[in-house]
Amino acid sequence: TGGGSTPTPPATQAPSQGATASANPDSLPRNETLYTTGTQWGPPANFNPIREWDSASGTKGLVYETMFHYDTTAAKLTPWLAASGTWTDDTTYEVKLRPGVKWADGQPLTAKDVVFTFELGKMETIPYHNLWDWLKTVEATDDQTVKFTFSKANYQEWDFMLYTRSIVPEHVWKGRSEKEVLDGVNENPVGTGAYTFMSKDQDRVVLQRRDDWWGKAALNMEPKPKYIVDIATPSNEVAMGLLLQQKLDLSNNFLPGVANLVQGNFGLTTYYNEPPYMLSANTAWLVPNTTKKPMDDPAFRKALASSVDVKKIVEGVYGNLVKAASPTGLLPQWEQFVDQAVVGKSGFAFDAAKAKKLLADAGYKDGDGDGFVENKDGSKISLSLIVPSGWTDWMESARSIAASAKSAGIQITPDFPDYNALVEKRSKGDFDLLVNNERQLSNSPYTYYEYMFQLPVLKQQNTVNFARYENKKAWALVQQLDQVKTDDVEGMKKIASQLQEIHLADMPVIPLWYNGLWAQSSTSVWKNWPAAAGSAPKTGAVMWRNWLELGGFETLTQLQPSGS
């Protein structure tokens, strides 16, 4: 496999590379190297940008690039490979590519590459295949211009596509079979990005900066680390050890207790220097199976929502590393879409007494005096809450949820099936309650509402609407939201507000807390890490898949060597 795993004698490469490489690449200079962890969990498996879920870290974002980036603070697309993108009419989108962008092999990036990339989606097993449900054609009108014609313009989703799909070179990929496109290792990736893969081994990939990257001139940006070593995530405690030993610059792991270290004098920083320390990355939901009794009753779901003491989880389990979610579950970055009036009217908070009252009002009574309420028909309620075995923080949280539900009179037993089994139960609807955080921060709350309300409910629900909540009106609203132009914030807000009303009235899923954008960095070698305070960058310091486009890359360009 990769050249990294077999030692190469230095003699063969020293003379030829001597001119460009400032240091012996066999031993990376510490002050030019960024060590990161928290992205990949094992040996790098492939460099295939189509496999967004398991390609080696940096494959997308550092080696391959997308047409746009998304600025989560400003909430807008940043042109990247594209110089601009505009809706020429309601169903036509035109992208002008940036001139002078070159592939790593020297070939120029052209509109045909973009067309090729999107047409790959016609293959059924390609993740963005369903784009072609509403995309009619992609054409290169000239070398720099791509025209997308839609049968139905899903503006919100389209923006998401624009910054998530890596563009691949047609001249390299042409003729690859479906199998190869989907499953190929793509051993020597040719991308447009600022880095190339230098070596890989069991527990790492090493990326080297391309000094001829187009963005240096075109964007006036340069990622500062000459080398990036991304270490396959060992366990939390090992990552923490490495961080303390200053062998690691950025850990994107969940490091419980790191708050203590940030407060102490260890040279560690996080985005905030007080709770919640991290930016928020996604929402953890408590998902009730609404096809089962009593979760099919909105009143019960609302009582359940009031019974969960999220604060206790935030403090006890996470040591304040996360933030309690707002009743809408929308991430803080989407705060503008939260209709405070709706929340004020029908929002909820932890209140055991209220939960009890809600239950009583809805007819759930503790008839047999065991401390737990029964169904209206008198049958016992005994719910199980499943989270994957081994996910310690969630396991602890599940225990905590069970405990606080108990005080409201709802009997919940935490259960920790194996992840695989959980996935199967989840997709078949064979569960009572579960915790899920599948959806990440994105350009639009649309993705969250799609997650909540998507219809139809199938026999197998693989990615969304695990609650199997059926509300035609809500789903119609979601689709409507999709078709609101992304610059029409007011239009979005209006629909969002209606959706929030439905959500809070019916509680198909119960927001719990916001998982953090785990990022703890050491200032021993690199400084100017993103932080809330002062003039520090406001981007997310993450190397996670799909997050380099959300500000991760920009963070790299703003780092400064600590020595200087």
Binding site: M240, G257, G316, G319, T392, D418
Partner: protein
């Protein structure tokens, strides 16, 4: 025959009385058992005396040992001493269940193979060897991973089911030499059946040996269980010393300076198993005149 005569001088005191004489004077045996017993008592009465749920969150997380929390608290404010005494319980439970099951299987296989001999022996021997060669922890990992382990009892069961081969081999060898002793034939001529001979003639002759086997299996089970717990394949319910270790390590206890979370469970396992080993050597000395320090 000559050796036999020398080993059994006619005028020596009764075997049992002599064993007792040396037992109460054997420092190793006494120390070993004292430690194990102390731990056992702590595990048995500790939870009763202290009361409260071991996993209950407390109000003072991460506090060092104090009068209120003898061994301090975890990240979640759980009282470590309380977890510790509960953990001792399950640790002993795993030892007893795992060691017990392994001992029973090992004895049955060992006795039957050793006594029956012939094809039965060959087949059992083959089985033993097969299980012996298969790396058991790997198997346990797999079984655990797929079936999931709910309780200490199930964990003990699995450990017991994979840990017996060496014991079977050792017992088989002993039985093999005992079954050629003529009292076995004499029992046969008195109309005793196989099972009776094994249980009434052969087993009593190696009772000390069987006991030692059990001790070793007991200690082994505890160690294996703690490894499994540590990798995250432990029981999902309850507390055990291994789970405490796992939690401590997963929540970076050492890095955060919460040594009181990490040290006691490991030290207790070491103490129990180590004490068992020491006691085992002591026993060996008691029952085996050659090992006695004269």
């Amino acid at each position: 025959m000559t050796a036999l005569q020398e080993a059994e001088p006619r005028e020596r005191a009764g075997v049992r009385r002599e064993a007792l004489y040396f037992a109460v004077r054997n420092g190793k045996l006494l120390t070993g058992f004292a430690i194990v017993l102390a731990m056992l008592v702590l595990g048995l009465i500790g939870p009763v005396l202290i009361g409260g749920a071991p996993n209950e969150y407390g109000t003072s997380p991460m506090s060092p040992p104090s009068a209120a929390h003898w061994l301090g608290t975890t990240t979640f404010g759980q009282d470590i001493f309380l977890q510790f005494v509960h953990g001792l319980r399950s640790t002993f439970a795993v030892g007893v269940i795992g060691g017990g099951i392994a001992a029973v299987i090992g004895m049955v296989v060992g006795f039957v193979a050793g006594y029956r001999g012939g094809v039965v022996d060959e087949v059992l021997n083959m089985l033993t060897n097969v299980i012996l060669v298969i790396p058991t922890l790997a198997v346990l990992l797999i079984i655990n991973a797929y079936l999931g382990i709910r309780s200490v009892a199930v964990q003990g069961l699995f450990i017991g089911l994979t840990q017996w081969p060496w014991a079977a081999r050792a017992i088989r060898a002993q039985t093999f030499s005992l079954r050629t002793r003529e009292f076995v034939d004499l029992a046969r001529m008195s109309g005793a059946g196989t099972w009776r001979i094994i249980s009434r003639e052969i087993a009593p002759n190696m009772s000390s040996y069987l006991f030692m086997t059990f001790i070793l299996l007991f200690g082994g089970s505890i160690l294996i269980a703690s490894s499994l717990d540590f990798i995250g394949l432990g029981p999902t319910d309850g507390v055990s010393l291994g789970l405490m270790l796992q939690n401590a390590s997963q929540w970076s206890a050492l890095q955060l300076g919460l040594w009181w979370w990490f040290v006691p469970p490991g030290a207790a396992i070491t103490a129990i198993v180590g004490a068992l080993y020491v006691a085992n050597v002591g026993l060996d000395e008691v029952f085996n005149p050659k090992l006695r320090e004269t």
